[in-house]
């Protein structure tokens, strides 16, 4: 197996990790600040992708499509926060799981009701289509490189927002001490709506960006949701840094194990059972990774609470 292939696969793992980070960042922020488990986060990812596909179909502009995804997901997030989610902050996790599970049902079938049952079309913008040749002779799709850059930029932006702005101070205060922040005179319900909408917008952005190279269809959010949960649990719930490291770990594990394990098994057994068994274990690999991390550190790599 050549070095070039290994580097290319690492780029692929990086790219999928960076997109997972966009999902996981919102999820972990919402949990950290409001203590809420939001199963409907995948639905916001879907909302973003559908909004982008609809607007791209009407206008032909990818930039407008991305804006639409951000706005639609943030709006959807704000609306469900105000109507449903804010009544759940004082409930236990159980009620949150049930309520957000119900939201998944409503979003999925609602989307199908509006857009129909057929997958939608969303394409890569012309400027970013096709492969480029990287140093070392690696041919790599430009759009995927753009995704890596976009994801890293959003990561830096989030860091600045949380560490360097007034909103960030409030968010960090909210994570540590809720009474304190109310005492400071911050309108807590407004802050919560804002944080929720921010998380939703990140999910919507991820949906639109990934939607251009995948299938925009009902139910697309759920597999990503599960992965994002794995990410934040590995990283430690509530920690943005943890979400970033966790996302890269999951992205790389998922990609690399899937490729190299069957090859490795072929050294010991016949080709056919090796590919079959290898891909079977590979599909379980990130869950095994997560269990190992939790057994080692029960509150994740960077989790604050035990």
């Amino acid at each position: 197996m050549s070095t070039i292939l290994i580097i290319e696969q690492m780029l692929n793992g990086l790219q999928s990790g960076v997109m997972l980070f966009l999902m996981a960042a919102g999820l972990t922020l919402i949990f950290g600040v409001m203590g809420l488990i939001n199963l409907a986060h995948g639905s916001l990812y879907m909302v973003g992708a559908f909004a982008a596909a609809a607007v791209a179909g009407l206008t032909g502009s990818f930039v407008l499509a991305l804006m639409a995804a951000l706005v639609a997901a943030a709006l959807a997030g704000a609306v469900i926060e105000i109507l449903v989610i804010r009544r759940l902050y004082d409930s236990d996790h159980l009620d949150q799981v049930l309520a957000t599970f119900a939201l998944i049902l409503i979003f999925s079938e609602g989307t199908r009701w509006v857009f129909g049952s057929f997958p939608l079309f969303l394409d890569i913008p012309d400027a970013l289509s096709g492969p480029v040749t990287l140093p070392g002779g690696i041919e790599y799709p430009l759009y995927r490189l753009a995704l890596i850059v976009a994801g890293l930029l959003v990561g830096v932006g989030l860091w600045v927002l949380i560490e360097r702005t007034r909103l960030g101070i409030q968010i960090r205060a909210g994570e540590n001490d809720r009474e304190m922040i109310a005492a400071l005179g911050v309108d807590i319900s407004k802050l919560y709506t804002l944080v929720f909408a921010l998380g939703a917008a990140l999910a919507g952005l991820a949906g639109a960006l990934v939607g251009a190279i995948q299938s925009v269809q009902v139910g697309m959010g759920e597999p990503v949701l599960i992965l994002a949960f794995v990410v934040i649990v590995i990283g430690g719930i509530g920690s943005i840094k943890g979400a970033f490291i966790g996302a890269l770990l999951v992205g790389l594990t998922d990609t690399l194990v899937g490729i190299f394990l069957p090859e490795l098994l072929k050294l010991f057994m016949d080709a056919a059972p090796a590919t079959s068994a290898g891909s079977a274990i590979a599909s379980m690999s990130i869950y095994i990774l997560m269990s190992l991390v939790l057994i080692w550190r029960p509150s994740g790599l960077f989790g604050a609470r035990a």
Partner: protein, 376 residues
Amino acid sequence: MKKLMLATAAAALATSGALADVKVGMITTLSGGGASLGIDTRDGFMLAIEAAGRDDVEVVIEDDQRKPDIAVQLADKMIQSEKVDVLTGIVWSNLAMAVVPAATAQGLFYLSTNAAPAQLAGKGCNANYFAVSYQNDNLHEGAGAYAANEGFKNTFILAPNYPAGHDSLTGFKRYYGGELAGEVYTKLGQTDYAAEIAQIRASGADSVFFFLPGGMGISFLKQYADSGVDLPVVGPAFSFDQGILQAVGEAALGVKNSSTWSKDLDNAANATFVADFQQKYDRLPSIYAAQGYDTANLLLSAIDKADVNDDAAFAEALKAADFASVRGAFSFAANNHPIQNVYVREVIKEGDIYTNKIVGTALENHANAYVDDCKM
């Protein structure tokens, strides 16, 4: 969803007044992610029933949500409460495996509009079970034959790691015969194929065969087109279906795929079907709609000949396949699976719409590999 659809017409009594009324139970996927396939199946089937305009056929339609346990429950309901004579409509092989053996064991007829797993074609075949669509391996075999004819020497093949995926690659290899540059099983429901595409690029393959139904295929084709790898690609019709081609877009243009049906197949039944379907539903039909339409017409042809309560006679009437198939020449092999042509189609653009046109025939009058295993 439950709907009682009564086909109404005055002519019915005149043609077949003596024979019993027939109640058909259709179990198909109408909600959730795979709904578009079930909706097309239903619409194609009902188009034929309504066009026949008769009041001795009643169709009960229910949604299986693509869940096997729900499908079994609906089958029980249709058998116990609705007392249907014929079941049909299931899209997915795993749901068919859950429903069909039990239904035929209870003396019902099952006409498959799509799924036709190997288990039900060989040792598990049954006189009351007819696959009107194909045998699951057929399109993959067609793709293999096409690859062999084109002179591909070193193909890279991939499919999801589940039974239909394994059957697919086996079916392809049965007719391909050349070297394999790689054989990869992906995760079921996988949406990112960057890693596999990198493997294809590194493998030195001269062509690619893939079986990735539904959203998986959309994702693969979009990513493949953007990767700069430009080896010829061939796959079964499932990833090039009318319902999903628009979502793939330009990435699918020029790709070859194997199919038993295409909207430009030149026969009178097909011309009527395509025109009527477009007029009624305002969209182009898919292969699922075509198979649903054929299934209904086969059923109607048998109802005219025999009493559904007389199992042997009705099975014989079905087996005669005395109807005008939209696929042209159509008959049943000994194990009640079709003998038909497998065509090669190419994805083209007509105006703003992506669709397929036939460019050749991969296998003529093709049956299936399990005929000899079937002892009825």
